[in-house]
């Protein structure tokens, strides 16, 4: 089976390069046959990688421990449910997943646009295949010499040939990140999967994030195609709008799932720690969000064209960088593993080359990107979006700087200085506040220039409501300035959204005599982009409330309890009932049973555990969370005496954390609404796409009226 996988990878590599050339030649010579052949190349690439991925899943499922990757990340007693996700537990498998997703996106993209008559599509396909070829090269050709092996121990025929051709000496040739590599011997047992990764979140989090990362390659490829082909009007944005939202959807989902996974499994009571791996997923999200907003300005007003190119290049660069950060060990953290110089160099080289090539292309074609309008006023939607973009990019830059700070300081001062959670929070809270305010302002303020009447009409009630909430909370005894400020801002944004829904519904009811629910449904479905956007903003507001409350008002205590003893904490009481120790197939479990009382009424009987995993030789303290909408009771077993006579329980009260996940769900739902295919829009897109670029120039005016 590993041979099938390896052979598919080799074929895919060849197909990939053929497609690059066929697509470029086809587009340059305007040859439909060559272009059609390139499209078939893209589909074969996807097909071959699907076979390779299937082969890897099979090897993991049957625990073929002779395959190094399988031996390294699974063990015979690992449940099947976690054996398959071990696909992306290590470097090699993650890279295969990356290209597999890329090939899937490319295949889908080519399928969707196969009849669209524009050179953008073949050029974009070529760019995507170039990106794919880099990852294929890493997987297939990157190798190291293993001194503990002799050349005769290399079993794979391809690597035997490579060893002979390259004359590698000093040991056996060993590919660095090829998951199909067979060991010269079969180990008795595998090393097992890190137990913290043995969680349902692990099933979904990495692939979701990769779907987001890789998805950004599509708008990037179209942007580059626009520059190469010289068709740098708005067509590339219109063709990629839904792709960008799709990528953004997965990036958002990946970030939210990541936070949820950290909260549920890591047991330290928080959901975000500014860990480099978290940042690696967050930076592309910030840039993608900026891009989603600024393309609206280009679509409707023909402005910010160069800026959009810069943004998509940066966003794509950051997705590659994010992949690199999680796959290399440059800044150590939970997932960051695998130290390998050749790997690091190859990645850095690819990043530098692609960003530089893209920037060079942008500079040579900059005259194609003339702005059609000027900014008219500081108080206008254009400038609100511009500020939104500057703050988003600024935040991305701050997070990047903080993440890389240990590297800078190591290079320049010889000491590794890292920045902590406080550093990030201190810098970023004003930025989040500004972005939240813009969330309310941006969608409502007038285009071109807002006059006093417009401002009064749109913002009088929301501002009043925001102030009312802040003052009200202060009267009820809230003393934290941060909390009052954020509560006021969130209330303001909420009021703008409600006001929009109210006005839209009322207008529909007046025109078409519909009932409230019908009018609202029609409102959202007829203008799904706009109202989906409002729903996303609503989700952001809810998340902001949850984050503000849980970061400012968390309370914590360590309670040492003898058996039967009960101690109070903040209106709760915790009684230690019993202790038991038992063995599961792959671990020992130490468990203490507690009763949790709220205002002297029994709330729940809960068991907190520490587990010792055999194969991984690792102990893990699991969190027990009692969720409520008001606050979560977050319990962990701190320590226990061997006979179980006393235990120390760590209790954290996390207010409003559930709202972060609720807000996340609203955001995801809003994104689905915004990307829902709209029949009229699809017709329009097909017509404009077929008519080519001439029609496009008229579109901004038509869209501006919408």
């Amino acid at each position: 089976m590993s041979e099938i996988g390896q052979f598919s990878l080799l074929l895919a590599f060849l197909v990939c390069w053929y497609t690059v050339f066929a697509a470029i030649m086809g587009a340059r010579r305007n040859s439909p046959e060559l272009i059609a052949s390139a499209y078939r190349g893209v589909w074969s690439f996807f097909f071959l990688l699907t076979i390779a991925s299937g082969a890897l899943m099979y090897l993991l499922a049957v625990r073929d421990l002779n395959v190094e990757y399988v031996a390294r990340y699974t063990s015979s007693n690992l449940p099947m449910f976690y054996a398959i996700p071990a696909f992306w537990a290590g470097n090699a498998g993650s890279l295969v997943l990356w290209v597999w997703i890329l090939s899937g996106y490319s295949a889908l993209m080519v399928w969707r646009h196969r009849i669209t008559d524009t050179p953008l599509v073949p050029y974009a396909a070529a760019v995507l295949m170039l990106v794919g070829s880099f990852f294929m090269t890493l997987i297939i050709f990157l190798f190291q010499t293993d001194a503990s092996m002799t050349p005769q121990m290399v079993r794979d025929p391809f690597y035997r040939v490579m060893q002979a051709v390259l004359g590698v000496s000093g040991g056996g040739l060993h590919p660095t990140c090829n998951p199909f590599w067979r060991l010269p011997f079969t180990p008795a047992e595998g090393l097992g999967l890190n137990p913290q990764l043995q969680n349902p979140g692990m099933m979904f989090h990495p692939p979701t994030l990769y779907l987001g990362y890789v998805g950004m390659a599509i708008p990037f490829a179209f942007g580059m195609a626009a520059l190469v082909s010289g068709q740098a009007d708005n067509q590339w944005l219109i063709l990629t709008r839904r792709w960008t939202i799709t990528a953004w959807f997965f990036l958002s989902l990946g970030n939210i799932l990541g936070g949820w996974w950290a909260y549920v499994t890591l047991g330290w009571g928080g959901y975000w720690a500014w860990d480099p791996v978290e940042n690696a997923a967050f930076i592309p999200w910030l840039l993608a969000t900026a891009f989603l907003h600024s393309v609206m300005i280009q679509e409707k007003r023909g402005m910010l064209k160069i800026w959009n190119m810069v943004l998509i290049i940066a966003a794509f660069g950051m997705t590659i960088f994010g992949t690199y950060l999680t796959r290399s060990g440059i800044i150590s953290s939970v997932h960051a593993f695998a130290r390998n110089e050749a790997f690091n160099l190859a990645f850095l080289l690819f990043m530098a080359t692609s960003v530089m090539a893209a920037t060079f292309l942008l500079i040579t074609r900059v005259d194609l990107l003339k702005s059609e309008h000027q900014l008219d006023s500081l108080l206008s939607r254009e400038s609100a979006f511009l500020f939104n973009n500057v703050v988003f990019v600024g935040a991305a830059f701050v997070v990047l700087f903080g993440t890389l700070f240990p590297l800078f300081s190591q290079v320049f001062r010889g000491v590794q200085v890292s920045v902590g959670v406080m550093w990030f929070n201190a810098i970023l809270w004003p930025l989040w506040a500004a972005l939240l305010i813009l969330t309310g302002v941006g969608p409502l303020i007038a285009w071109r220039r807002a006059d006093a009447a417009n401002l009064r009409r749109n913002f009088l009630y929301p501002v009043a409501f925001g102030l009312l909430v802040a003052v009200g909370l202060a009267l009820f005894g809230m003393r934290s300035g941060y909390a009052l400020g954020f509560a006021g801002i969130c209330a303001f944004v909420l009021a703008t959204i409600v006001q929009e829904f109210y006005r839209g519904t009322k207008a529909r009811m007046a025109i078409s005599k519909e009932t409230i629910p019908v009018a609202m449904t029609h409102l959202v479905s007829r203008q799904n982009r706009r109202y989906g956007g409002y729903l996303i903003h609503l989700g952001i507001v809810i998340i902001a409330v949850g984050i503000t409350a849980s970061s400012l008002f968390q309370r914590e205590a360590d309670l040492t309890l003898r058996r039967g003893e009960r101690k109070p904490f903040q209106g709760y009481a915790f009684q230690y009932l019993s202790f038991r120790q038992f063995a599961e197939p792959n671990r020992d479990v130490h468990a203490a049973t507690l009763q949790v009382f709220r205002h002297d009424a029994l709330m729940r009987t809960a068991e907190v555990v520490k587990e010792d995993y055999y194969a991984e030789q690792m102990r893990w303290t699991k969190a027990k969370i009692l969720y409520t909408l008001k606050e979560d009771v977050y319990l962990t077993l701190g320590s226990f005496s061997e006979d179980g006579s006393t235990v120390t329980i760590n209790v954290k009260l996390n207010p409003l954390v559930s709202w972060i996940w609720i807000g996340g769900a609203v955001l995801i739902a809003g994104t689905v609404v915004a990307m829902w295919p709209d029949k009229r829009e699809r017709e329009h897109r097909r017509r404009t796409a077929l008519r080519g670029s001439r029609a496009e120039r008229r579109r901004p005016e038509a869209a501006a009226r919408a």
Binding site: W268, S383, S418, G420, M422, A426, Q617
Partner: protein
């Protein structure tokens, strides 16, 4: 037209300037950044520079140096004292008050201590992290759990 554009540009400049000022102010502020040392020897060579600031030192728990003081009438939280070293000559005494001692903390363990270096030459630990042997390919999370 031009003048308004300039107004926008100046405002954008102010925003960017404000972000830059925030970054610089936070980076130079003590307690917001942590100096990280791979060995106690490296740290001790420069330790006088770091009195009262946040440091993170990576070392081994010296055999026989662990002293635990359980909860009693005097102290409401358990106290843990031990010595961090890379050789017997280069050691730093560590004082920790609290219960979040990582699961794998023991004599000879490879630990990272994050805390404040006091003028008495003691590292007041805020957080103890245990490094897993490289086999597991996972570094600790802020919890201190491995």
């Amino acid at each position: 037209m031009r003048a308004r554009n300039i107004k926008v540009m100046i405002s954008l400049g102010l925003v960017i300037g404000a972000i830059a000022v925030l970054v610089i102010a936070s980076t130079t502020r003590s307690g917001y950044t942590t100096h990280y040392y791979r060995t106690p020897s490296e740290f001790l060579a420069r330790s006088h520079d770091y009195v009262n600031s946040m440091v993170r030192v990576n070392g081994k728990v010296v055999q026989g140096s662990i002293r635990r003081t359980p909860v009693s009438a005097q102290n409401s939280l358990p106290v843990l004292d031990f010595v961090l070293g890379d050789s017997l000559n280069n050691t730093v005494p560590v004082h920790y008050v609290g219960t979040t001692v990582p699961d794998a903390f023991k004599e000879g363990a490879d630990v990272v201590v994050e805390g404040i270096y006091t003028s008495e030459g003691v590292l007041e630990a805020k957080q103890l992290l245990v490094k897993c042997p490289s086999k597991y390919e996972a570094a600790p999370k802020p919890s201190g759990n491995v």
